[in-house]
């Protein structure tokens, strides 16, 4: 086993880890704090990819797409939250799943209506387009950017939640909404904000992923399966759990692609099965629902 393969596998693993965690983090945070399970979560991820394709086409700049698309998509999500999702926070997971799969269905068709059935590639910005050599492995620079973007974004999120007054209110509202409301905070707006953050993460991931794998009609389903595996294996609602599970999945996918190329697609399911066999509620799951 040569060093170059190990390095290449390691970088791939870290890239998958970053993407999987960015997508799953929003899903699991919204579940943990609002009790809302959103099966259309990755539809916003897909939508952001397509919007980014259009924005990049018009402006010719990836950076403009990265700036605009997540904001547009998360904004659209906020409107939906006000109109639809908000009514469902206390309606039970069955109603939430039903409505959000309906929504995912609609978004998938609407995307096909606007952009057609074909896949599109988005060029990475010139600055990140090349390759670099490390221990004999030639690797795309863009993967480094994905990892850096994920670390940066999640770092900001962590600081926001743990280090600011707003973060304190959010955390308090998740566990004691009535008390926080009694103290004069608008809990509904706090919930909307949490929802918005979750969608922004997914949309951001959609744009960042686009230069790597392109945008295609099935990407919402692919990502949904991956995100559900991460969230279930990590324990529903647990952010550290999602972080670890995304890491394990990243490892098996990154190295699996290199050493068992044809069979790597099965590894996430094997990991999920193994986790559930020994920890039925996931790695960090606590019995509640």
């Amino acid at each position: 086993m040569s060093t170059s393969l190990l390095v290449a596998g390691g970088l791939d693993a870290a890239t998958y880890w970053s993407l999987a965690f960015m997508i799953a983090a929003g899903l699991t945070v919204v579940f943990g704090m609002l009790g809302f399970l959103n099966a259309a979560h990755t539809s916003f991820y897909m939508l952001a990819g397509y919007v980014a394709y259009t924005v990049a086409g018009i402006t010719g700049s990836f950076w403009a797409a990265l700036l605009v698309a997540p904001v547009v998509v998360a904004g659209a999500g906020l409107v939906l939250e006000r109109l639809l999702f908000r009514r469902l926070y206390t309606a039970g997971h069955t109603a939430q799943l039903l409505l959000t799969i309906g929504l995912a269905y609609v978004i998938a068709e609407a995307t096909k209506m606007v952009w057609g059935d074909s896949a599109f590639a988005i060029a990475p910005p010139p600055l990140l387009a090349g390759r670099f050599t490390l221990f004999g492995a030639t690797l795309p620079v863009y993967h480094l950017f994905i990892i850096a973007a994920a670390v940066g974004l999640l770092g900001v999120l962590f600081l926001l939640l743990r280090g600011t007054r707003l973060g304190m209110v959010i955390r308090a509202a998740a566990s004691h909404p009535e008390m926080v409301g009694a103290l004069g905070f608008n809990v509904r707006n706090v919930y909307s904000l949490v929802f918005l953050i979750g969608l922004y993460l997914a949309a951001f991931a959609g744009v960042v992923m686009a230069p790597m794998e392109g945008v295609y009609p099935g990407m919402a389903d692919d990502a949904l399966v991956q995100a559900f595996i991460v969230v279930v294996a990590g324990g529903l609602g647990s952010l550290p759990g999602a972080f670890i599970a995304a890491g394990i999945l990243g490892l098996v996918q990154g190295f699996g692609n290199i050493f068992f190329s044809g069979y790597a697609v099965f590894f996430p399911f094997i990991v999920l099965g193994a986790v559930l066999l020994f920890r039925p509620l996931g790695l960090f799951g606590v019995k509640s629902a």
Partner: protein, 341 residues
Amino acid sequence: MTVYERVLQRQRPGAPPASSHGKLAEAGATVLLLGLLAAAPLFTSRATVNDLGQAVCLGLFAISFNIIFKYAGLLSFGHAAFFGFAAYAEALLLQSFGNLPIPLLIFAAAVSAAILGLVVGQVCARREGAYFSMTTLAIGAGLYSVAQKWSAVTGGTDGLDGFMPDSITILPGWQWDSPSISQTYWLVLAILIPSALAAWALLELTAFGNAVRAVRQNEKRTKFLGYDTHHVKLANFTLAAALAGIAGALWAIDNSFVSTDSVDLTFSTTVIIIAFIGGTGWFWGPLIGAVIYIAASDWLSALTPHWQIWLGLAFILLVLFAPGGVAGLVRSGWIKWRGNV
């Protein structure tokens, strides 16, 4: 119980103790629906019979989904796994043993789906609520990637076709040479209706059915009464898988084509939509949903290639404002007309 579930409960026929009058109306509706389906080739065109063949297979599939939803209160997100598995099994069986009686081959495919359900159920049936849905989705997706990758057996993305023998054996010594569309349709119904009726009887008339409903209403209490609730749930899950398997096998026969479309995530979603359009509160509701779905897809796809967007929107409105589906609407209309039954 959540607000939504209370709404569902209100719309669910038979949820409040049904009077004998209500039961009679339900039985009448069942006979009418099944009778109309069986007699359809006598008064409709070939194309319609062709569509109905697909609709009844989808309908049985949606009924099997609803066995988990209505009776166990769980939302399966990967139900196409069983349907697709049996469809592939049926195609492969026909390829190798085309001269054996068809009912035997369908039975074998259904058993294979039931075994898959038994294995998968070991993991899924222990889950509740959202965990169940997410686990079934993952398993369904896993099976989909197997079907896609293992192209030596499944034909990959091209799928399998040409597996139907020219002359099919109904029973030993009784063969049909290149059966007509109506003949195939009746063959499908001859297996479909008894299977569905058997499942209905098992759930509505036996102690097993009562146990399944008791677990749904209060698992802890049922456990205290001495029931092994895991095995009750597992048995119900396996029953649903077997029925989905019969639907898949019949689908393979009716279409003479099987592809990864019958195991993918979209198909698992579609069956949920079908079941809800028809109405999950009535055992036969999903069958109505499938007929509506096929009719709508014919009618709408002629108008716009993106007809599924309207289907999705209709589904959202339905879940919000008429969670009982068409069967629920008919029922409340009937109650208004006849007074409270």
